[in-house]
């Protein structure tokens, strides 16, 4: 009882601010704090040294055009190959996970849990060094390209399987029933009615998966690739060692953004369109 009576009293004692005044005060404090931090950083930084460390145009000039023709192109190829592998395996796993055969469900579930829980780099190492040792004489088709396709694709497949599963389960049960009442078998219902509808749902998350793969392709640099197989990170690292300057990293970052920003724009557009279609 007593706490309730003191509450209005303290409020009356404090300076009376309307709700709008309080909001404005809070906003002002936040701005002031932000400007103070930026100002302090700007004051402490030696701009000549800073820009020399991150942005030297002579290094940029030396990187062009190979950073695009080799680095960027290889990054896209690695990511695309891994995406294709993950797409096929992921779809298969999703169908297995929804199967009526318990062994399939169990296998797909174990696969997903394992590869989602293990770092992509570890999996890539396992594929790159484990498989050639385990199967002597085995050669990945396309050498490093095949190796990366599997090594990155295996992990991505686990994530995609979950995406596909969610997409398939998002198709209303009535769709399945309508197809079955028309005399379609379960398999045919999946192929002609459920999966085509599931795809519409999963295109945005799949594009996100593609973005992640573009970034994960940077792991390829640990595999000891030849100069023609360099992707952006390895390419930048090479220049970093020679120039002792961070400019190559900035260039690589900009190249990554040149791929990933249009993809995220695409995701936003697809999501907006999908929201409207519903």
């Amino acid at each position: 009882m007593s706490t309730q009576t003191t509450h209005p009293a303290t409020e009356a004692a404090a300076p009376r601010l309307t709700r709008r005044q309080r909001a404005r005060l809070s906003l002002g404090v936040q701005y002031a704090l932000g400007i103070a931090v930026i100002g302090l950083l700007a004051f402490m930084t030696d701009w000549a040294t800073f820009s020399a460390a991150f942005l030297r145009f002579d290094i940029l000039e030396r990187m062009l055009p190979r950073v695009i023709l080799i680095g960027l192109v290889n990054t896209i190829i690695y990511a695309a190959l891994a995406f294709i592998f993950a797409f096929v395996v992921g779809l298969l796993l999703a169908v297995m996970r929804l199967s009526s055969v318990a062994a399939y469900r169990w296998f797909a579930g174990a696969y997903v849990e394992f590869f989602r829980g293990v770092p992509a780099l570890v999996v890539l190492f396992m594929v790159a060094y484990g498989i050639p040792n385990a199967f002597p004489g085995f050669q990945f088709p396309g050498d490093k390209y095949g190796m990366v396709m599997v090594g990155l694709g295996i992990t991505a497949a686990a994530y995609m399987a979950e995406t596909f599963r969610a997409g398939i389960q998002a198709v209303p049960k009535g769709q399945l029933e309508a197809a079955r009442t028309l005399g379609m078998s379960h398999t045919r219902t999946m192929a002609t009615i459920v999966i085509p509808q599931a795809f519409r749902v999963v295109i945005p998350p799949l594009t996100n998966e593609m973005i992640l793969l573009v970034k994960d392709s940077s792991l390829v640099y640990v595999l000891g690739v030849t100069a023609a197989q360099y992707e952006l990170t390895k390419f930048a690292q090479d220049f970093l060692n020679r120039s002792v300057n961070a400019t190559p990293l900035i260039v690589a970052a900009l190249c990554y953004l040149a791929i990933t920003l249009p993809l995220s724009g695409l995701v936003r557009r697809l999501e907006a369109r999908y929201a409207k279609a519903r």
Partner: protein, 271 residues
């Protein structure tokens, strides 16, 4: 269970014997037996939760009965070796929520099963589809997607989709319950014309005026049992059972609140 005389194959359109269905411990259908003759139009009415939809869904085995048998024509649907895909082709079904395929056009909705299931040539499937779109007055929308149609139009297309498989009987599961009131009439009109053409129809509905006018027979269900059945005019106009009377009273006079009934219901729920 003593073996009952099995009717001559094909003598009934549907023959349901001692059907029971439980969902877990909830027994929804408690010993239902019902026969439906070829060409007959039967409306199933009753309060929600009475098992009407479940009964309908047991006919084409969308729900698997706990026990009992269902025959559609000569085929025992409930037989473990029944070729359901083949039997279901002959049973059209119209759902409350239409369930058109949203990724296909109206015409494709009507042809996909004809082509994939009945193995018809595409031209033949399209011809059949157009014929049935004409029957339901939807010819002008064959290139539209379901999302572009009103509820009433979607339901008429759904009826045409079922008709395109040339079924021997049609099941309707509350076909107008999801529709705005002003769209109910167009769907009922299509169903009425189907009935007049001699289609065997089993309709779960709350449209009493439609049942009275179109149905040959009305079946009243409550609590998992068939409580009363007979000619539409008699069951709706002059119900014999008390439960039928109180249900019809409530449905036909929705604005009249019976104080005694409310009190009784409250006592039941607190008990």
């Amino acid at each position: 269970m003593p073996t009952q005389p099995i009717p001559a194959p094909g003598s009934h359109a549907i023959s349901i014997r001692n059907l029971k269905k439980s969902f877990g411990s909830n027994e929804v259908l408690k010993d239902i037996s019902l026969e439906i003759e070829p060409g007959e139009v039967v409306c199933i009415i009753g309060p929600s939760g009475s098992g009407k939809s479940t009964l309908l869904r047991c006919v084409n085995l969308l729900e698997v009965p706990t026990s009992g048998t269902v025959l559609v024509g000569p085929d025992e649907v409930t037989h473990p070796d029944a070729d359901l895909d083949r039997i279901r082709r002959r049973i059209g079904m119209v759902f409350q929520s239409f369930n058109l395929f949203p990724h296909l056009t109206v015409l494709e909705n009507l042809t996909v099963a004809q082509i994939k299931v009945l193995k018809r040539r595409k031209e033949d499937a399209i011809a059949t589809a157009r014929l049935n779109l004409h029957r339901v007055g939807m010819s002008h929308k064959e290139d539209a997607y379901p999302g572009q149609l009103s509820g009433g139009q979607q339901q008429r297309v759904a009826i045409a989709r079922s008709l395109s498989m040339e079924p021997q009987l049609m099941l309707f599961d509350e076909p107008t319950s999801a529709l705005d009131p002003e769209l109910v009439g167009e769907v009922l009109a299509v169903m009425k014309s189907l009935a007049n053409e001699g289609m065997t129809m089993v309709i779960v509905t709350h449209e009493m005026a439609f049942a009275r006018e179109v149905a040959d027979r009305v079946v009243f269900m409550d609590g998992g049992y068939i409580v009363e059945q007979g000619l539409a005019l008699e069951v709706i106009g002059n119900p014999q059972e008390e439960r039928t009377q109180s249900f019809l009273h409530r449905v036909l006079n929705p604005m009249v609140i019976d104080a005694a009934e409310v009190i009784e219901a409250e006592e039941l729920s607190t008990a």
